[in-house]
């Protein structure tokens, strides 16, 4: 299947290029499909292809020795993964897995280098993409370094459970994250931690506070 010019045009890597340039680049781009759960990149292995997600969603993650998973990014259509190993050499920093059926557009490392040499504006675009990636990672490090998210989640749960409004509060994990100044993924992880500790119980769309005193201690509320 031919890669669509409109799709290439919308990629940050190729922003600002005219149609002739995109047509020229298109000959280097190939399509790859994958099913849910398929691993697209293995952490620690060399990578020779830069991938753009055309449809579907890919998660970029690391797995600890004891099997714990940390999602670094959710890669959506129009976004790329494998950038760092392909551009900088070395091995994959994270693994990548299809979260559903996905269609990817790939460019081999040597072809990407050719494109950058032939069209210097692409190099500026690449710098912008990598700068954004650094910003995302710094934000993640900030969360991990300075924010005790679990205790914030515990405090927030207590506060909302204590409200006496006629209709109980209903919060999405995104809203919880926004309230306590962290990422949605951190909220999900904190809820799991609290559930493992026996202080709450997740019942479909209800968060049940099972041990209020223990939750208060976790929240640092006296």
């Amino acid at each position: 299947m031919t890669v669509q010019l409109e799709f290439l045009k919308g990629l940050p890597y190729f922003a600002g290029l005219d149609e002739a340039a995109l047509v020229s680049i298109r000959r280097y781009v190939f399509e790859k499909k994958a099913e849910r759960g398929e691993t697209l990149a293995f952490e620690g292995e060399p990578s020779d292809v830069l991938f753009f997600v055309s449809s579907g969603v890919v998660k970029a993650f690391k797995t600890s020795a004891d099997g714990k998973e940390q999602i670094f990014r959710i890669v959506r259509p129009g976004e790329s993964f494998n950038d760092v190993p392909v551009l900088g050499g070395g091995v994959n920093l994270v693994s990548a897995e299809a979260m559903g059926p996905v269609v990817l557009n790939g460019i081999k490392k040597k072809d990407l280098e050719t494109i950058v040499r032939e069209r210097p504006p692409v190099a500026l675009n690449v710098i912008q993409v990598l700068s954004r990636r650094v910003q995302e990672l710094v934000a993640l490090v900030e969360d991990f370094s300075f924010r005790h998210v679990t205790s914030r989640v515990a405090k927030m749960l207590l506060e909302y459970a204590d409200r006496k409004a006629g209709d109980g509060p209903r919060l999405t994990q995104q809203e919880m994250a926004a309230m306590i100044g962290t990422a949605r993924e951190m909220v999900g992880r904190s809820l799991k931690n609290l559930e493992s500790a026996g202080t709450i119980r997740m019942e479909r769309n209800r968060i049940v506070i099972a041990d209020r005193q223990a939750l208060r201690e976790m929240a640092g509320v006296t």
Partner: protein, 72 residues
């Protein structure tokens, strides 16, 4: 089990990411928007909310205290 994920059809662009990610088979595309076709199948995993680039799906939780029974 009356609670259902909330779909904002004005925000929904019909990209289908949520349908692809839903392991319960609760969502389907109807034309160019997504619909909850089988609410009873929804396990509230919240992956649809996670992947939606447009913030069109919400899976809100209510927070209750066990010994107080129903919320508030």
């Amino acid at each position: 089990m009356n609670e259902k994920p909330v779909i904002d059809q004005e925000k929904c662009q019909g990209c289908g990411l949520c349908v692809d990610i839903c392991t319960c088979g609760a969502l389907a595309l109807a034309g160019d928007v997504v619909e909850l076709c089988a609410a009873d199948k929804c396990g509230w995993c919240t992956l649809c909310e996670l992947v939606c680039p447009y913030g069109a799906i919400s899976c809100p939780f209510e927070i209750v205290v066990e010994d107080e029974g129903s919320p508030h």
